[in-house]
């Protein structure tokens, strides 16, 4: 389990409160070495491609997991997902949709664009904490990663 590689997560969340909640729970699980938070789709793509302010690959490494909200300013979540899954470079990064939306349309769209998982944010605090801990544990501990 301890591979020596620092495990990092990219959290794409426009709501700062939700981001804070997610980061706290991820930190509490002590699974990720680093959680990067961006607030919109454009920033997420820049991060993944190491463009703009995220040009430093050492400082902003390739994440082991992307937690993606769907409703984002500028470039929305589906568009980000689409670009990631269309890219030979980024396709292998697991992208988990974490959103408030329970709309079937969003669900269908997400899987149509090869989302690896679709999760809705539970309103209940305990459920929310449990979900994020399980999520981190599954993807970063149980799941075998290609790199």
């Amino acid at each position: 389990m301890i591979s020596g590689v620092p495990l990092c997560i990219l959290l794409v969340e426009d709501n700062p409160d939700h981001a804070e909640l997610a980061m706290r729970n991820l930190h509490d699980g002590r699974l990720a070495n680093k959680v990067f938070h961006v607030e919109d789709g454009e920033a997420a793509l820049d991060f993944l491609y190491n463009r703009g302010v995220f040009v430093d690959r050492n400082q902003f490494p390739r994440p082991h997991l992307v937690l993606l909200d769907l409703r984002l300013p500028k470039v929305d979540g589906i568009e980000v997902l689409k670009q990631v899954k269309e890219s030979d470079l980024l396709r292998s990064i697991p992208v988990v949709i974490l959103t408030t939306s329970v709309a079937e349309r969003d669900l269908a769209m997400a899987y149509q664009h090869y989302a690896n998982s679709y999760l809705t944010k539970p309103i209940d605090f305990d459920s929310f904490s449990q979900l994020l801990r399980d999520l981190g544990f599954y993807w970063l501990a149980w799941n075998k990663r290609p790199w």
Partner: protein
């Protein structure tokens, strides 16, 4: 029974009467002629008898009488007693007595009297020597007429029930006569008496009757033959007239009793036949068409005359009817369907055009009504389609709205519950550091939710709770909005330029003020680090009318987001104030005014220009005042 047959019968009857009269006349003439013949014959016979008697007598007179043997039938005449040698005796002793002409004549007459069928003679005088020779009444009359110079008297008399032709001539005294009559004082040349001859008509009448009977038979047959011929002729003529009449009746029935207006126009364009039904259709009688061949051309509707003339000019043989309008005498316009074809004589020569005009006004009206109905239906279908599309758009919008609302309302809830849970945990573990900021987050989320709910309420009012449209002076509206925002503007140190000469529009004044206020506020809010903030408000002439604009030299909007900014609760910058309803609201208001709102920008740093149009018509119940 037809008039013609009647007339034939009348003529036949007249002919029959004439024929009868002619035959009867002819027979009467024959009869009369025959009667005259009988009289002439008997008269001639009587005359001959007279002549013969006279001849015998003259002979006897010339001889001075003759001597005959005395016997019973010829005794010596007492009236000759005075005569010398009245009685002589022959040397052989035979007794002879003198017989004078009168005596001889009398004896011959007596002889004749014994035979009924023979001509009877009679010698007589007004002064007879022998009393038996006295005349009867007729003879006396005749003798008296002789004295007046009449030479002959003849008449039919009935004697003893038989008809006789009696003829009498005078006796002129001759020298021989004086031997006996000198004593009476006669001289030669005097009318001494007369001899009459009576010829019985019976024998001749029998012959005449035969002739008459034969004539009657001939005439009767002739009459019958004539009558028969008249009868047969009349019958044959009647039959032929009846056949002709029935043929004419058939033709007349077929042609006259038609609802369509039928006619036959000869090669000289005069009408050979026009059915009386034309009166129904065009209000002109068929006699008027006979009198005026150009009438048809004149009643064709002026707008259709060209087409009609082309149809006529291209000749007959049309199997396709043409429809055109006619103007009736009373001015009413009617549609007729006209079909015609060239007709030919039995010898194959062109003989004008046979045409039918059918009144199709009702059909045309029905067609027009149908067309109108179809038009209305089509319009309604279009309208319904439009409404359907509108409804679909509304539904899509509603779906989007629901989605947005559920997402955006859920967000603060997650925040509230999440941090409430965190606070609870912190309280339990005694970690008090994060409690205050976390509570702050909870409060903000609650505020945000409240703001969202208010905005939703506000949005739902648009189009539902609107003010009565008024005529708005956009210059005044701009002035008022800028007045309200004067504080913010001066705080941002922004330069605001508003163009004058903006047009007047119909609209909801407070709502339009809201739109303008929102746009100016946005311009101030997204000015960025611009050192000379500048906002320009004006109007351009666009294709569909006036285009109002609010231009700034602030952050600008990249083209991918130029439509997204009008979405509900969409914010380009998640950290900016507000819920992100402003432009959504503005769009709803402008759309309510029949206009459009959009943003033009060359991207980040080049400023934005928000444009909108207003296309609200003046409400019917509101006046410009």
């Amino acid at each position: 029974m037809s008039a013609q047959t009647n007339s034939i019968r009348r003529y036949a009857a007249i002919f029959a009467v004439f024929w009868t009269v002619a035959v009867v006349g002819s027979f009467a003439w024959l009869y009369h002629q025959e009667k005259n013949n009988i009289l002439e014959i008997t008269r001639a016979e009587a005359r001959a008898t007279y002549e013969k008697d006279t001849l015998y007598r003259r002979w006897a007179t010339r001889q001075g009488g003759v001597y005959v043997l005395v016997n019973e039938s010829s005794p010596p005449s007492p009236y000759l007693s005075h005569a010398q040698d009245r009685d002589i005796t022959t040397p052989s002793g035979k007794h002879l007595t003198l017989v004078n002409p009168a005596y001889m004549t009398r004896q011959v007459f007596e002889l004749a009297d014994r035979q009924n069928n023979l001509v009877r003679g009679h010698i007589t005088s007004l002064k007879p020597i022998r009393p038996e020779n006295a005349p009867d009444a007729w003879e006396s009359e005749a003798l008296r007429s002789f004295e007046r110079g009449v030479k002959e008297v003849s008449e039919v008399q009935v004697i003893n029930g038989l008809e006789y032709m009696r003829l009498m001539r005078p006796f002129v005294t001759e020298p021989g006569c004086l031997k006996c009559h000198a004593s009476q004082g006669y001289k030669v040349g005097d009318i001494r008496g007369g001899v009459s001859a009576s010829v019985p008509l019976a024998m001749h009448a029998r012959l005449a009757r035969k002739t008459i009977t034969g004539g009657m038979a001939t005439h009767g047959m002739l009459w019958l033959l004539g009558m028969g011929m008249i009868g047969i002729g009349a019958r044959s003529l009647s039959v032929r007239a009846a056949v002709l009449e029935s043929s004419e009746e058939r033709y007349r029935t077929v042609a006259d009793y038609t609802a369509d207006w039928e006619y036959w126009q000869g090669p000289d364009l005069t009408f050979r036949y026009v059915s009386p039904s034309c009166k129904e259709i065009c209000d002109y009688s068929h006699e008027e068409f006979y009198a005026d061949p150009a009438l048809l051309d004149r009643i064709v509707h002026p707008d259709d005359l060209q087409a009609y003339r082309v149809h006529v000019a291209t000749g007959g043989g049309h199997t396709e009817p043409i429809d055109f309008r006619i103007v009736r005498r009373d001015g009413e316009v009617r549609w007729v369907s006209h079909i015609c074809r060239t007709v030919y004589t039995g010898l194959g020569k062109e003989n004008g055009v046979r045409a039918s005009n059918r009144d199709i006004t009702d059909r045309k009206q029905a067609e027009a009504a149908l067309k109108e109905q179809a038009g209305l239906l089509e319009k309604e279908v279009c309208e319904r389609k439009d409404r359907e599309a509108e409804l679909e758009a509304k539904n899509a919008e509603l779906e989007r709205f629901t989605y947005t609302v559920s997402h955006d309302l859920k967000s603060p809830l997650i925040t509230i519950k999440g941090f409430a849970g965190a606070v609870l945990q912190d309280v339990q573990t005694g970690n008090h550091e994060r409690i205050c900021p976390d509570m702050g987050r909870i409060m903000n989320a609650a505020d945000k939710m409240s703001a969202l709910l208010n905005d939703l309420l506000e949005l739902s009012r648009i189009g539902r709770l609107m003010n009565q449209p008024t005529l708005i002076d956009m210059n005044a509206l701009v002035r008022e909005v800028l007045g309200q925002l004067a504080g913010s503007i001066s705080q941002a140190k922004a330069e605001v330029i508003s163009h004058q000469g903006m047009p007047q529009v119909w609209g909801d004044y407070p709502r339009l003020a809201e739109v303008l206020q929102n746009l100016v506020e946005n311009a101030l809010k997204y000015m960025g680090d611009q050192s000379h903030p500048r906002i320009e408000i004006g109007v351009n002439e666009g294709e569909a009318g006036a285009v109002f604009f609010v231009r700034d030299n602030g952050l600008g909007i990249a083209s991918p987001y130029q439509e997204a900014v009008f979405g509900l609760f969409n914010q380009l910058d998640a950290r900016s104030e507000g819920t992100g309803i402003g432009l959504a609201l503005a769009r709803r208001i402008i759309e309510y005014h029949g206009g459009k709102i959009w943003v033009e920008s060359d991207g980040p740093g080049s400023g934005s220009t928000f444009c909108f149009t207003i296309n609200l018509k003046q409400p019917k119940e509101t006046t410009a005042s």
